[in-house]
C-alpha cells in the first residue's frame, strides 16, 4: 500500500489542470442533469458508470419519453468514436498493467489520455501505480464536480460563464508541451490542419471522425520520413 500512497502523492500535481477543468465542466453537467429533474445522486451514478465529458452532456438529452435505444447507441458512438484510436498509443503501457488495465481502458477520456501519453513518470515511483493514480484522481474530480453541480442546480454562487475555457487552456498547454519536442511537430500540425479543414467541410457536429481518418492517412503517407525523425 505504501507504493500507492507515494504514487498518488506524485501523480497529484500533474492532475491539477484536470482538477480545475473537470470540477467546472462536471458542475455544468450536474446542473444540466438536475434541470431535467434528476437528483445529484443520478449525476454521480452517470459519472461513475459512463465517465465521458461530451458524451454525458449529450446523454442528458436522451432522458425524454419514447427515446429509441438505437438512437442512444448511435449518437453516443458518434460523439465518442475518437476514443477508438486512443488505445493504439497505450497498448504496450496498459497491457503490462494486469487486471488494472480494464479500469485504465474505462477511464480513457480525452484529458486522461493526454496526461497518460505526455507525462514522464518520475523516477522514484512505480509506473503502473503512477498511471493508475492519475486515472483514479481524474475520475474522482469528475464525480465530485457532477455531485456539486447536482446539488447547486442553477443557483451557482458566482457567475461561472466562460469557466469551460479551462478545458481549452489545458489542451493548449499540453499541445505546447508536445510542441517543444521537435519530433512531434509534424504530427501536431497534421492534427490541427486536418481538424480545421474538416471542421469547414463537415461542420462542428461531425468533423471528428473525418479528421481522425485524414490524420491517419497522412501519417501513413509520411511514415518513412517521420520514422527517420523519431529515431534521430
Amino acid at each position: 500500500m505504501h507504493g500507492y500512497k507515494n504514487a498518488f502523492k506524485k501523480a497529484f500535481p500533474y492532475t491539477i489542470p484536470v482538477l480545475t477543468g473537470y470540477l467546472f465542466i462536471g458542475i455544468a453537467f450536474g446542473v444540466m442533469y438536475a434541470e431535467k429533474g434528476y437528483s445529484a445522486w443520478w449525476a454521480v451514478l452517470m459519472s461513475l458508470l459512463v465517465y465521458a465529458g461530451s458524451g454525458q452532456y449529450l446523454a442528458v438529452r436522451f432522458f425524454v419519453p419514447g427515446i429509441s435505444f438505437f438512437q442512444v447507441i448511435f449518437m453516443t458512438l458518434m460523439v465518442n468514436i475518437r476514443h477508438v484510436f486512443y488505445g493504439l498509443s497505450l497498448l504496450g503501457k496498459f497491457n503490462r498493467m494486469g487486471k488494472k488495465r480494464w479500469y485504465m481502458i474505462f477511464g480513457l477520456t480525452d484529458e486522461t489520455y493526454s496526461l497518460l501519453c505526455t507525462t514522464k513518470v518520475p523516477e522514484e515511483v512505480d509506473e503502473e501505480k503512477f498511471l493508475f493514480a492519475i486515472a483514479i484522481l481524474d475520475q474522482s474530480y469528475w464525480v465530485i464536480g457532477s455531485f456539486i453541480g447536482g446539488v447547486l442546480k442553477s443557483v451557482l454562487p458566482f457567475n461561472a460563464e466562460g469557466i469551460e475555457f479551462a478545458m481549452t487552456a489545458l489542451f493548449i498547454v499540453i499541445f505546447l508541451e508536445q510542441w517543444m519536442e521537435k519530433k512531434n511537430r509534424i504530427p501536431a500540425l497534421i492534427g490541427v490542419v486536418s481538424a480545421v479543414v474538416c471542421l469547414q467541410i463537415f461542420g462542428s457536429g461531425s468533423f471528428v471522425l473525418p479528421t481522425m481518418i485524414v490524420c491517419i492517412g497522412i501519417l501513413f503517407l509520411l511514415r518513412k520520413r517521420l520514422e527517420v525523425e523519431t529515431c534521430r
Binding site: 442512444v72 469557466i163 475555457f165 481549452t168 487552456a169 512531434n184 481522425m212
Partner: protein, 110 residues
C-alpha cells in the same frame, strides 16, 4: 424525472457500455500477449500529438467567427495561455490565467 427509474437506468447503462466499447476496441483487437504490428506501433507514437492538435480545435469548434465578437475573446485568451506558458512554463498559471481572463472577457467586455 421525465422517464421512469427503470428507463433512466437503462439509458445510463446503454451509454456506459457504448462508451466503454469505443475505448476497449483496440485492446480487444490487440490483446495481451499478441505482438503489436510495427505499423500500429508507429501509428501509436505519432497519433498522440495529432490527436491533441485536433482536441484544441475541438474545444474551439463552436466559436462564432463570422458574427460578433468574431472569436476575439477566445483568440485573446488562447494567446495569453500560450504567452504565459512560454514565459513561465507553469501549467496552473497558464491555465488559471487564461481561464480567468476569458471569464472576464465574456462577462464584462464582450
Amino acid at each position: 424525472m421525465p422517464v421512469s427509474v427503470g428507463v433512466s437506468l437503462a439509458i445510463i447503462l446503454t451509454v456506459a457500455v457504448t462508451t466503454f466499447a469505443t475505448r476497449a476496441l483496440p485492446f480487444l483487437v490487440f490483446p495481451k500477449g499478441k505482438a503489436i504490428p510495427k505499423t500500429i506501433e508507429y501509428l501509436g507514437s505519432v497519433l498522440t500529438p495529432a490527436v491533441i492538435g485536433m482536441l484544441v480545435v475541438y474545444c474551439l469548434k463552436d466559436t462564432p467567427v463570422m458574427t460578433a465578437p468574431h472569436g476575439l475573446p477566445e483568440l485573446i485568451a488562447a494567446g495569453t495561455v500560450v504567452a504565459l506558458h512560454l514565459w513561465k512554463r507553469n501549467n496552473l498559471l497558464s491555465i488559471g490565467g487564461g481561464t480567468i481572463l476569458y471569464m472576464v472577457l465574456v462577462q464584462t467586455v464582450f
